[in-house]
């Protein structure tokens, strides 16, 4: 099993121009898959996730010098990935259309991406998540799937911690309600 490199060590390598490329490769090896799934949960489609991941990699490496190491490295890379995923969704909206209106499109995409023999309960859970407003869904994903603290989520989404706590509670209630309504 490969040993996980500590964030401080990675940070040190990334801040050294001689070791930057090596550090970046290690960073992506360690967090790339988690970033891919974080993006995928937002954009749903694999193709969009691929595009957003590529942009995320480019942005991370390009702006690595600007990272001052004040917050956690993972928080910083998740912020970039989240923004790129939302940008990918925004590209699919028409003029003046909000990304929240993409709910039905994303549900259709979920059905298209899901194999026929997939677990119906898992599909229903994802459909319930897609009924949430995008920002709420992103915050929910970060808390539920990535198990991040509210402080970290606040840094990534730029929202207030208390607002996030309330939103998470409402999101849970909404998901439960949707599931109840859609299960006989």
């Amino acid at each position: 099993m490969e040993t996980e490199i500590r964030q401080e060590q990675l940070q040190e390598m990334l801040s050294d121009p001689q070791q930057r490329e090596k550090g970046f490769r290690l960073l992506m090896k360690q967090y790339g898959e988690a970033l891919y799934w974080h993006i995928r949960r937002i954009v749903v489609s694999h193709d969009d996730a691929e595009d957003a991941l590529q942009e995320t990699c480019i942005k991370i490496f390009h702006h690595i010098e600007a990272y001052r190491g004040e917050g956690k490295l993972t928080t910083w890379i998740y912020s970039i990935a989240t923004r790129e995923a939302l940008t990918q969704l925004r590209k699919q909206t028409h003029l003046f259309q909000s990304i929240d209106s993409l709910g039905n499109t994303l549900t259709n995409r979920l059905e298209a991406e899901t194999p026929m023999d997939s677990n119906a309960t898992e599909v229903l859970f994802q459909k319930a998540l897609l009924t949430l407003p995008t920002q709420q869904r992103v915050a929910f994903n970060l808390r539920y799937y990535e198990e991040m603290s509210y402080d970290e989520i606040a840094r990534i989404t730029g929202k207030n911690v208390n607002t996030l706590k309330t939103n998470y509670h409402f999101a849970q209630e909404k998901v439960k309600k949707y599931i109840k309504e859609h299960t006989a």
């Binding site: 590529q54 990699c57 899901t114 599909v123 109840k180």
Partner: protein
């Protein structure tokens, strides 16, 4: 509702680990490549600017050279030769005399 508690973090769609790691490795190398390209870009821009300047200067030089040549030819063409000056200074009678001269009248041939 109990079965929903058992879902955990499972997703209804899956991608093979190998495929995802290949995608990550491709994206990582692309990002590094893009950055290297961006670093080389200013040098290339400088070289391109220098090449354009050289071509422009060469073009200007050739144009100037040719213009100067044309001017020399033109000035040579417009210059009045001493013979013309002499002929212009003759009266009609003198010119007529010159036209109907006898070879013996020319001192050198005497």
């Amino acid at each position: 509702m109990k079965e929903f508690q058992n879902i955990g973090k499972r997703m209804p769609y899956q991608e093979s680990g190998e495929y995802v790691s290949q995608l990550i490795s491709r994206s990582t190398e692309q990002a590094i490549g893009e950055s290297r390209k961006a670093q080389r870009r200013p040098i290339r821009q400088w070289m391109a600017a220098a090449a354009v300047s050289v071509v422009l200067l060469a073009g200007a030089g050739i144009t100037l050279f040719h213009t100067a040549d044309d001017e020399t030819i033109a000035s040579a063409e417009t210059a009045i030769s001493p013979i013309d000056q002499f002929l212009d200074g003759l009266t009609d009678d003198e010119a007529q005399m010159l036209a109907y001269y006898e070879i013996e009248e020319i001192p050198e041939y005497e």
